[in-house]
Each structure stands twice: as C-alpha cells, then as structure tokens.
Symmetry: C2
Subunit: 406 residues, 2 copies
Amino acid sequence: MKVIKGSVTAPKGFLANGIKAGIKRSGRKDLAIICSEVPAVAAAAFTTNKFQASPVKVSKLYLKNKTHQAIIVNSGNANCANGKIGDRDALLMAEFIAKALAVDAEEVLVASTGVIGKYLPIGKISGKISELVDGLSEKNGESFSEAIMTTDTRSKEAAVRFKLGDSIVTIGGACKGVGMIYPNMKVEQHATLLCFLTTDAAISKKALEGALKVALGESLNMISVDGDMSTNDSCFIMANGLAGNKRINWKDKNYSVFLEALKLLTKNLAKMLVADGEGATKFVEIEVAGAKSDEDAKKAARKISTSNLLKCCIFGHDPNWGRVIAACGASEADFDSDKVSIYLGKVKVFSAGARVKKYDENSVKKLFAGKNVYIKVDLKSGGHKATAWTCDLSKEYVAINSEYST
Amino acid sequence: MKVIKGSVTAPKGFLANGIKAGIKRSGRKDLAIICSEVPAVAAAAFTTNKFQASPVKVSKLYLKNKTHQAIIVNSGNANCANGKIGDRDALLMAEFIAKALAVDAEEVLVASTGVIGKYLPIGKISGKISELVDGLSEKNGESFSEAIMTTDTRSKEAAVRFKLGDSIVTIGGACKGVGMIYPNMKVEQHATLLCFLTTDAAISKKALEGALKVALGESLNMISVDGDMSTNDSCFIMANGLAGNKRINWKDKNYSVFLEALKLLTKNLAKMLVADGEGATKFVEIEVAGAKSDEDAKKAARKISTSNLLKCCIFGHDPNWGRVIAACGASEADFDSDKVSIYLGKVKVFSAGARVKKYDENSVKKLFAGKNVYIKVDLKSGGHKATAWTCDLSKEYVAINSEYST
C-alpha cells in the first residue's frame, strides 16, 4: 500500500476536466467535472452548518439515488444564501451535465466554493458545458484540481494503490481549502473544504459510506485553518468497480484493507490542506494521547489546533507553550490537570501539571524556527489518542481575509 | 443611576495603589493593591479553564472566609503552570499583605496576569510590599488601574452612582484585557481578564454573589478578543457597607436596583475591554434576537463574535456578511435557517434565509468604514436575545502575539 502521484483520474474509468468559465474575476479556471465511464456507487459527507449552500442541498437529495456518474464543481462562488434562485441554479448545474452525458439528473452531484451571498452566473456556466464535457479525459485530473481552487496557492492531489486479492485497486483524490477551514462533515450530511475521491474498487454503498465516515473522522475532520466552519464543505467518493476485485461488503476482510488505504490518502490530503492554509508559513501537528476516550482526545486536539494565540506564537518562532495549556484547559475534554505532560518536539516542557524546571530551550527554539512544529500533550488519564493538524496564524492570513469579497 | 468618572476608590472607604516592582521587563507599574478600611463581604468569579493559575486556586480557597479586606495583584507574570512553587508564591503574596495590614491571610485575595510558565520573582514582590501598602490612598485608583495592565494600551475604569433609599451608593471598577480574552467565568468559580469591583453598598454575601453572576453573564462573559480562554481570568467584588443603606438581601426590592447598577458598570467595562483588544481598530457589537432561549441567543452571538473571518473583513472595511451566516450556522443555537434575517447597522441584507436582492450597499460600506460596527441577527424563532462584543482581527494582533514571551 503506497501513496503515488495521481489525481481523481488515477483509478480506472474516471475522466475529469477543468476549464475557465468566467466565474472568477481573476480569469482562472473555475468549472470542473469528474465522470465515471460506468455507473458508480457514491457516498458523501457534508457540512454540519445550519446554513447549507444550495449545492449541498441538491447533492444530499441526489445522493439517495443508487448510482452516480458525475460531479460538477464551480469555484469563485459558493451559491449560498441565494434562496430559491440558488437552489434552482444548483439544480440546473446537475441538469446541464445530465443532458450532456445522457444520464439522469439524480446521477449528478454538485459542489460550489467561493463568496457567499452572490448569485451564481448560471448563464456563463451553461455556455461552457459542452467545452467542459468535450474535454473529459483521464489526462485532465490536474486541470480538475486547479479549477476547484480558491485562495489555494497550489493544487492538492494524490492517490493510493494496493492489492486486494488478485486485483490492483486505486483510490484517487483532489481537494481544496484553504480558509473557512474547520470542517465537521457528517456522512449523508464545512472552507470550504471540497474533497473528491474516486476509486475503481468494487464496494457496496454501505461499506463505502462506513469507510468514508471513519476515514474523515481521523483526517479531514481533524484539520483547522481558522476555526470557521463553512456552509459548503463537501467530501464525495465514487467507486466504479472497474478494478475487478471481489465486491467489498460492510466490515468484511477486505473492508479493513480498503479503509486503511482510504485513511492513508485522506490524511495525506488533510496535511496538504493545512500546509497551504491561508497565509500559512508552517505545518503544525498536535497529538493528544492518554485520553479517557477518542472523543476526549479529539476535543483537546481540536481546541489546541484552533488557538489563535498559539498559532501566532508559532508564526513568530516563539515556543510559548503556556498557550497550549490554556487551550487544552479550555477544551471540554475530561482529564486531571495535575497529571498532564507536554512535549515540544521530543522535549518535555511540562510534567505532572507543572513546568519542567530546566529543559533544553535551544532544541525547542530550533523546532519553532523550522517549517514543521510537533506538539504532544499526554493527558495521562487513559489509553485513547487523536491527532489534529493546523498551520500558523500570520499577518498574511489577515491580509488575505480583509480583502476577499470586494 | 449614571456612569461617572472614577475607579475602585470611588466608593467610600476604599484605598488603592499601584507601583513598579520590576516584574515587567518594560519597567512599568506591575504590582497593585485594593484595600477596604473596614472588613467587606466579597464575591468573585474565576476562569472555567481546567488549568488554573496558582492565584486563582488561592483566591478560591480564601473566598470561603466571611469577610475580606484586600486584593493584591501583579501583572507581567501569570504564575500559572509553576506547580507547587507557584502555589507557594501565591500564598506568600497574600501573607505579605496580611502581615502589613495586620489582618488574616484569608482576608486577602490574589490575582496575577502575564506570561504562563515562568516563576514569579517573589523576592522582588516581597521587597516592595511596604512601598505598596504605605502608598494606599483614595487618590491612587488610577495607579491601580495602570499597574494591572499587560498589552493594554490604556487603563480601564469607571464608576456608577445611584440612590438606594436615603443613601448614595457607589460601585467602582477597574479591569484589564486585552488578549487571551474569551472569558467564561463562574461565580465561586478567563485573558486574562482581571476585573476589580468595589462598592460601599451594604449587601449580603449571597446577594453580592447572585448579582455578580447575573451581571457577568450579560457583560464580561459576553466579550471576545481572540476566542482564547485564560487560566487566570478573575472578577472580584468587595462591598464594605459604608454607604449606610439598609442591607440588601437576595432578591429583595433594592437588589434589583443594585443589580441594574452593576450591569451598567460591567457592560461599560466590557465595552472598554474589546475596544482596546489587542491590535483592535474597531468596536463590534453583535445582537442576536428572536432566539428560543437566552442560552441559544448567547451561543449564536458568542460564536459570531469569535469568527476570525468576520473579524478580518471588518478590519478590511469589507461588509462580507456571508461570514456572519457561516458563523451563526456553526453555532449550537437551535433555530430554523429559513427564517433568519441579518442587519448590518439598520440595513437588512438577509431575509427569511436568503440574501435581500437589492439593499443599500453604500450605507453598509459606510458602516464598515467607521469605528463602530453593529450587526444584528434575528433568528425569528422565539423571544430571547443576547448581545456580544468583540473587535476586529488586525495584522497588529498577529504582530503583538508573535512576539509576546520572547
């Protein structure tokens, strides 16, 4: 099992494309499609925000269909808060693709990312559908990854390949961030974080949903750029069975192999996202061990990963670990504060609820001067753990987000 | 009932002082005291952070005493995460003052604010106790307010005066912020936000505790600078009875008058705090109306007030109200997203779950170009409301917090 170069077109039978439709003022690519040559089973997870963008509503509705053949995506406009006009436009996006591919509208899923509260230029989209579909190719995975970007500085894609019985199975993926990133996506149910996964594995819809839920819980749902949850977060996976493996069913022997591969891919994509977080200069990994439950470990790790103060001192190369303590203590995780230890890299700075009198300050300063910062909190209250990923909070983040919509 | 100029020494019988003890590297004032000429009843609220600074532990313990006579405060060092050495130092601070004033140590409360995880220079403090106490005066309220500051750019103090029967009652207050501000203080039970209130009202301890709890819930506990909860937040109130009013008891007629005055003062102090939030260029008020419960209104208002994205666009004069929606929908408040309306100033931009097709964009831009930004969200789901206060998120905030401890 290994991570390979590749994108949503790495698995057999998936084609993609990404083009310029004039939605973004920058003139960059902003309309994209993934298509499976044969009907695929699909699963998806959507934002738990109470305000849901129109494409999220439409995709939730259409996900009830047994099979799916395509996903259409636009960047530069979230199609959120646009009322009935927004709902109609999201439905139209699916309908345009359905017509062009001669499939049912219910077989097409929809995603959007960009500014909230602006009507989608649906005329521009409709005028570009034939160009979009005509360019569908297994060679255009990269143009897909580019066309879904907003404030991303680079496209994010990867694939995993592994053996299942006698078959070679591939899972491909592409995703975009990189602000309004604090997703908590639920299967059948927020950056917008958009993530598109494809696989040629033969797998039941139920098994696909189960694997997506577990993998997200340890990967994309454990990242934060700014603690702001979007109205548009969506993660889709389509499985078309062309690898020819014996069909994977819910929790059978091969399910765990598939799940491990999916975890490997989604963790890779998650790390790429925070490393390209808006204004990010550093990648930060926060591990919480010794928790009473997985839930406690996640609560503490996520709370620490969203501390503005901690993220500022990481930007400033300042190992001010008191901010780890403050954030950990503000979380709703259950633990005994007198037992806790904290490590910056491999250096223990806090032990049994008190500072370590003398520790290797040079080593800690060196860690904080580097590109990757590792922080570990051992709650010493149980055997559960979780890892969260984030980036630093820079002046550039403020600059990007004070000039975004206008 | 009106807000007047004044500080913790505005009520009868309260003396204060603030001096330089060399705790801060800047050489500014960093050691302060409030003292009542006669024994006073006291109530306090402390951070709900699981890591509690040593002065918080000591004040909680000593608060059980029936009466109190003084509060000692240092800035420049939080005395947190210092283990048993920290606990001993906080106890020593109280003991030094008790000796100098010839009262019991249990009658002295303690507060600290500054960097976490550095030992307190207790020798410097002990060497300055006689200077601190010798300078106690009703004229030194302002020096008290100055000595409790950390990254504050100005001191914050105010007083309220009102009639109770034939007596004139005064409540005075001083507070400091201005980073690590997302308090959720519980009575008997976080920036460090430090707030000191004094009153010459005669009031029972139980009534004082009750009033503090209610007033905090609508004032200091409704502010946010950065969403980071401190290990040191503390709010104290001492009442010495020298106004000569008929003693106020829990929920009697005069209790509500006292409570209104206390709310007026604490709301004033709360607004001063966010207006001086780290790096702040704007004051932001977020009102949530039409909620199913007070709790729902507070949840939505507080979540919106901590949105980094919203705070960045306010810094950038950009009325990107989509970020209000995203934050409101990410809150745990219970409401129907299809009913919600949003106003920027007096302009309705979002109605019944969808953008208003045409609204006065110039008026909205003007509002966001000003010093004070008012946002109102009407959930249209009930009759409860709440107001939260915050500031914008500026490049200066990042600069301040990337260079703080080193």
